[in-house]
């Protein structure tokens, strides 16, 4: 294993400059900042997003959603809607021909609620009409008689409450027992922490188009992030064979969680099958907030034991995830929360209980860094408390406890991958602090509250805080992580066919770089994704860099062998002695050479390969097991300014050091880290989808405040540690999730330092950041 660590200060991404098609790209291959293929179309506004889909004679869909979080449905009368001119079909639960429930892991969610509604915004019926307004009015004309029930909105009360679902209210319980329960430390700190409900807030509208096929099947054009699973779920609900349903992935904008999920696709397909016409659905922003999955709101109770020198002795924790009404991916989120409950620290004894429970709150599910982000905020708050109690510098206390390769996680799994946590922490600690406001001209000082805000320099306190975070990569606990890719070469152009959906993670750029690197061909295209291709799995947990990237590399290598074998034979040397650069094949000694075109001789070369990482196992009844394929780590130092009278917080700078394995595309890596940190800053300060007794309040971007460019801090990537993970293809680690996990804890730590307040809740409310001057 190489231990070369380089410091990379990323430069601005090189934009895809406009030019003639035959213009030579300046960058190619791994380790270069090859720009994204669609960046130009997206910048110029010509990229076709899902909302731009069109088909001749299409109908418009609208969905009727419950205005109540919990109610018994007494009756549903669609006659008024059906009678409206222009309405072509109205479907309810009674019209679902196949399975009436679905779910990515557990089939516990009805396509349309029929007896009970379990959350605000749950779908009851869908309408297709010849105009979007008609569809909306018709949906509103469906008369539903509800018997309103008391919603269960406090997850702590879900245990004792009447069952909200036939499956019961407890979705999963993991008791983790590691070490000696009797162990105690000389110093004990305790805390109770609450994490709010972050929405993945995809900016591009959720939209899709369903087109019926003459053979009785249907094609779904959507920005699905897991097309094969979605196809199988939809087919089951349509009462069709999976082959009769085709999901065509179209116009995916960025996604940090699930979007256009089966709950969106199934009503659309049903309407297309029912009417025999193409049907289009574009979700309103409100529907989007109500319908898709959010980050689990979490309640955490912690007790840390340490010895007098600050070495951790034991961690006890209780973690309660609010899953909302349906299971979705809560089981995986809980496993991550429990396994990483102590963070990247060496803890000899750990006792963690985790529960995911059902409530009538908005549904929770996959949002990147789920589980790990909530516990990071809590264990880092505990580390700050411990440092304060012992009178030790918070960074120094962390340094005394950091994990390294060879240490054991509380799940009993040995950390075999690179874990350069100490190196990451010292990198951010030793990075120079940003200038104090008094040293910069006042005009340049953006006070908390913004340029036109009420900020007053005399009331502003600066704080510095640290956090260390970790995430797992790929699916956990025995999930079969496999991806298949095909590489085709013809007429000097290589094409990658792989159904990995690029949700902004940059997989398609990476796939082009891998093929360029292996085959020496500059022009590489990535084919559009549909379910006629073999599955590649969901776009989550950085899996495509690993498994799909691995599959692309293997396929490219197979093509390389096919291409070079005849030449090697002719030259009397093995294929390893030949290299391909700039479309030329040369022998190692440079004596023999030919062009790729000549070697191809008009042939077409194809190869298909799979990548399947080593298997994992589920956590057992004591929360023990080798559940994760790989781990990634990050250290962040946050610097904040707090107006201690108003409680306004501005994050001045986030210094990030990250364990990335290997840098495959520097510009893309930097943008992924910056995006992750910004999402984390949002979770720390403003992003919280509020509810009142189960009803979502303000489902819009006025009420749900995302970070703007003024809220986004200066992000300094001070170190990217390149210690290759030997089990990962290329040795690269997923980079997007771990900054999201770590940033909220770092911001909270800095606000704690600035105000002296405990900061036990995220997002940080202004009243929690108010302090008495000079106290």
């Amino acid at each position: 294993m190489s231990s070369d660590a380089t410091t990379a200060i990323p430069v601005l991404p090189v934009l895809d400059t406009p030019g003639t098609p035959d213009q030579e790209p300046t960058a190619h291959g791994l380790g270069t900042s090859l720009p994204q293929a669609e960046s130009r179309a997206k910048t110029e506004g010509t990229f076709p997003y899902a909302a731009d889909l069109w088909a001749e004679g299409l109908l418009w869909a609208a969905i009727l959603r419950s205005p109540h979080p919990h109610a018994r449905i007494v009756s549903v009368d669609t006659s008024a809607a059906t009678a409206m001119p222009g309405v072509r079909a109205v479907v309810t639960a009674a019209d679902v021909p196949g399975a009436t429930t679905y779910g990515r892991r557990v089939a516990d969610r009805p396509v349309f609620a029929s007896d009970l509604v379990r959350h605000h915004g749950e779908a009851l019926a869908a309408v297709a009409a010849d105009h979007p307004d008609t569809a909306r009015l018709a949906a509103a004309a469906i008369s539903v008689e509800y018997e309103i029930l008391d919603p269960v909105t406090d997850p702590e009360k879900a245990f004792a409450a009447e069952a909200l679902h036939p499956d019961g209210n407890l979705i999963r319980h993991i008791p983790l027992r590691f070490g000696d329960p009797e162990a105690t430390g000389e110093v004990i700190v305790e805390g109770l922490y609450r994490i709010g409900r972050q929405d993945p807030a995809p900016i591009g509208a959720e939209a899709g188009l369903a087109v019926p096929r003459p053979d009785g099947g249907v094609e779904l054009y959507t920005a699905s992030t897991d097309p094969h699973t979605d196809r199988d779920l939809a087919a089951a609900c349509f009462g069709l064979q999976p082959e009769q349903v085709k999901v065509v992935v179209t116009g995916v904008p960025g996604a940090t969680g699930d979007r256009e999920d089966p709950g969106f696709q199934i009503p659309l397909g049903l309407l297309a099958l029912r009417t025999g016409c193409p049907v289009k659905l574009t979700a309103t922003r409100e529907e989007s907030f109500l319908g898709h999955a959010h980050r689990h709101p979490t309640l955490l109770r912690y007790r840390h034991h340490a010895d007098a020198e600050g070495h951790l002795v034991k961690v006890e924790a209780q973690i309660l995830l609010d899953a909302g009404a349906y299971a979705d991916s809560s089981s995986e989120s809980l496993a991550a929360a429990v396994a990483f409950a102590c963070g990247p620290y060496v803890v000899p004894h750990a006792f963690v209980e985790g529960w995911a429970v059902r409530t009538n709150n908005p549904p929770s599910g996959h949002v990147r860094g789920e589980g790990a982000m909530q516990v990071c905020a809590a264990y880092e708050a505990q580390m700050d408390k411990l440092a304060a109690k012992l009178g030790v510098d918070p960074a120094e206390l962390r340094m005394r406890n950091v994990m390294a390769t060879g240490d054991i996680l509380p799940t009993g799994q040995t950390v075999t991958c690179p874990a350069p946590v100490a190196e990451l922490l010292s990198a951010v600690r030793d990075f120079p602090l940003p200038a104090l406001p008094k040293d910069t001209p006042e005009d340049d000082w953006l006070l908390p509250g913004g340029p036109e805000g009420a900020g007053e320099p005399g009331a502003v306190r600066r704080g510095v805080g640290y956090a260390l975070g970790m995430v797992h990569m790929l699916g956990a606990e025995g999930m079969d992580e496999v991806s298949t890719a095909t590489v085709r070469v013809m007429d000097g152009v290589a094409t990658v066919i792989c159904s990995a959906v690029d949700t902004g993670s940059g997989f398609s750029t990476l796939a082009r770089q891998i093929v360029q690197e292996t085959l020496g061909i500059d022009e590489v295209q990535v084919a559009p994704v549909d379910t006629d291709q073999p599955p590649a799995g969901p776009s989550a947990h950085g899996r495509h860099t690993w498994v799909s990237g691995g599959a692309v590399e293997r396929a490219a290598k197979m093509v390389r062998t096919q291409l070079l074998q005849p030449l090697a034979h002719k030259f009397g040397m093995s294929t390893e002695l030949l290299q391909i650069t700039d479309g030329k094949i040369t022998s190692y000694d440079g004596v023999l050479s030919t062009t790729v075109t000549e070697a191809m001789d008009g042939k077409e070369l194809w190869a298909t390969a799979q990548c399947r990482p080593h298997p994992t196992e589920p956590l057992d009844e004591d929360g023990q097991g080798d559940a994760f394929v790989g781990l990634a780590f990050c250290a962040i130092r946050a610097v904040v300014d707090v107006d201690i009278e108003l409680g306004a917080v501005r994050v001045v700078e986030m210094a990030v050091a990250q364990d990335v394995g290997r840098i495959l595309n520097p510009a893309q890596l930097a943008t992924r880290i910056e995006a992750g940190v910004t999402q984390g800053v949002g979770a720390a300060l403003t992003e919280n989808l509020r509810t009142a007794r189960g009803l979502v309040r303000h489902p819009d971007f006025t009420g749900y405040a995302l970070p703007t460019s003024l809220d986004a801090p200066d992000i300094r990537i001070v170190k990217l540690v390149e210690e290759r993970d030997v089990v990962a293809p290329f040795g690269a680690k997923a980079a997007s999730a771990v900054p999201v996990v770590t940033s909220p804890a770092a911001v909270a730590s800095a606000v704690r330092a600035a105000t002296g307040r405990p900061v036990n809740r995220l997002p940080i409310r202004p009243q929690a950041a108010v302090a008495v001057p000079n106290s």
Binding site: E452, E456, E645, A648
Partner: protein
Amino acid sequence: MTLPASLDEAVAALTAMPAAVPVAGGTDLMAAVNRGQLRPAGLVGLSRINEIRGWQYQDGHALLGAGLTHARMGRPDFAALIPALAAAARAAGPPQIRNAGTLGGNVVTAAPTGDSLPVLAALEADLVVVGPLGSREIPVSHLLAGRDLLAPGELVGFVRVPLLHAPQVFLKATGRTGPARATASVAVVLDPARRGVRCAVGAVAPMPLRPLEAERWIASLVDWDNDRGLAPEALTAFGEYVAAACIPDPQGDEQLPPAVLHLRRTVAALARRALGRALA
């Protein structure tokens, strides 16, 4: 949709079609239309009416056209005239909104968080309303309080604001550093000719609140003929006086919830800072 070129034509269009809705910048109205909350039978667009896009002077007052955009009001020449209104306009949302949203629209929408409203309340501005029966003037507070509503066919044509030639401050607290709605806002204007301090608090109630007693008390402490400065303790007391007037203690033993207590502290801090800057 009609696009009249003068106020008279607009009034005639509205009178001819009483169900039509006037639209200026459309930053509030069209958002409601997009959400499906509003389906106006017709729209009377006000963007071509040049007479309400600027301002003129009238015996010590400025007659501001209702079609003045926030972007225009935020410019330095306007800021020299009515500094607090310019500050409120600059703080009112992102550039796209400020380019489209107008002063008249902000008044008529009458959102509790409307940034120009506390400034107009503190300035005791009057609205010049034009209608089929001619024009009339009503205090802005009467419209906001619902005491005097616009009749069918009537439009806000102008806003009459006194030119006080003295410091004015508008301060706004929000939940983030980027543009956002106010959680609380305070406007403080000095009126040296009448030896008065006028203050209005926005966003904490459905309309801006005027803490009249606090205004009179602090005005009595100011030395109007000299440097007008006040001791920090007086500024703090003023802030707390204003906050308590706008967010009173509940009756009996009840306690204000923590979020409301924080709002009161925020108002106190804003009022103290605003007065301090106005008197500095």
